[in-house]
Symmetry: C2
Subunit: 277 residues, 2 copies
Amino acid sequence: MDSKDDKDISRLCIHTITTKPWNIEEAASHFSAAGVKGISVWRDALDGRNIKQTGQLLLDHDLTIVSLCRGGFFAHKDLNKRKLAMDDNRKAIDEAAGLGAPMLVLVCGADPSQSLGDSRKQIQDAVNELIPHASAAKIKLAIEPLHPMYADTRSAINTMKQANDMAGEINSPWVGVAVDVYHVWWDPSLEKEIKRCGESGHLMAFHICDWKLPTTDMLLDRGLMGEGCIPVKQIRSWVEAAGFTGFNEVEIFSTSHWKDNQSEYLQKVIKAYKENS
Amino acid sequence: MDSKDDKDISRLCIHTITTKPWNIEEAASHFSAAGVKGISVWRDALDGRNIKQTGQLLLDHDLTIVSLCRGGFFAHKDLNKRKLAMDDNRKAIDEAAGLGAPMLVLVCGADPSQSLGDSRKQIQDAVNELIPHASAAKIKLAIEPLHPMYADTRSAINTMKQANDMAGEINSPWVGVAVDVYHVWWDPSLEKEIKRCGESGHLMAFHICDWKLPTTDMLLDRGLMGEGCIPVKQIRSWVEAAGFTGFNEVEIFSTSHWKDNQSEYLQKVIKAYKENS
């Protein structure tokens, strides 16, 4: 790999779920050998492992641990379920700290048996309630707005404006926003809200992939950058103009790509990152 | 049927596509016999028919013709395709006039080979260009914002705010907005934008159905009101508070319901309308 290539992928991070068939040890080894510098870890990848030792393994592979995915699912009509969600989120914060990740990404949840307004209020209350635990553990909490097609059960936070508004009202250095192109690319106010997110100091993470044509599954048919219609380069330029200097995280759930040879797929991810991000 | 029932469904309109297995003559007969007062006609239902005679048939069944669905698909990178779309939309306006429908609903289109901004500009230009033809034919044009999950190919107009902004800029008595709960239910600014739409005189149509849990197909898995999580009654109350006094149009694409006995399904539609709308 020449120095230009080294530079090209110096801010590339890959989520463990992107190469789901690999366990975290395999992912670390392959990512590192390919020159990838960042990894975001999904909690299921930590199952049955010593979290501190796994974090050390990632560092030993010269990988920056960018985030732990994911906390959230705060919205429940049932109070007991809300309490259980808070327990689980405190546990996730502890896991992030143990792993050595600086940030927990939040998929905030929605409960279709109540109004979106109620779900949104419960989310904001929950994030506020987590701040003391997060600040003590030095873990940032990134609110990720999810595509409106997930407003039924996955997230009542569906636009950058909502996430920005919420982060602004919460007003804590430990709470910000994760921008994922898959969820927000369609939004006519995207450029404006990314700028606002950066100016307010809330822009904490940037996730990339693509929207395939056609999309055959609402959850597990994401594409590699360039396989669809999202203007990833343009959105990245807005994110960088807003002052973001962190990793560009490739987060792809794809039943189709998970069937590929993962070593070949990793090379495709890197190529797509260089050419279409 | 007692008088209370008559009153309950006096503003119920059903789209021909909702009972797709029926041809328009069967739909007219069954709707009328069930006491339904309004019908919106999809263009495919007119294939091979004399449009004026079909319009008269609907009137003979005591049905109000609420709208023709659908024009649009204006956005194309290719200029020739844009011209063909304009021809087709003028034809659709003529069909609406021939049928006796006062309104053409617009699914505005999107071309994933260009930016959403370009698609949006082409849509606005096209609607402006159609106004002389529409006003001469006395046909209203209703811009329907579509769910963001259709921003790839079906519509670059994805929120009520966008539709309101566009109708406001176009500023013609012949151009307004069609509100479909399926597309906009998730939007945190929905109540505000419905109010704005009514105040500006642009609220031209109201479509209802439900968002199923889970939704297994992005296009053809809509539910009857009450089968999902959309607060249809609440949204209807906002629409009525905004001054809308037109029909409540049941527009359901459902591979599943199209397999039902359509006479039984029609009774389910009416029951769902009475109980959950």
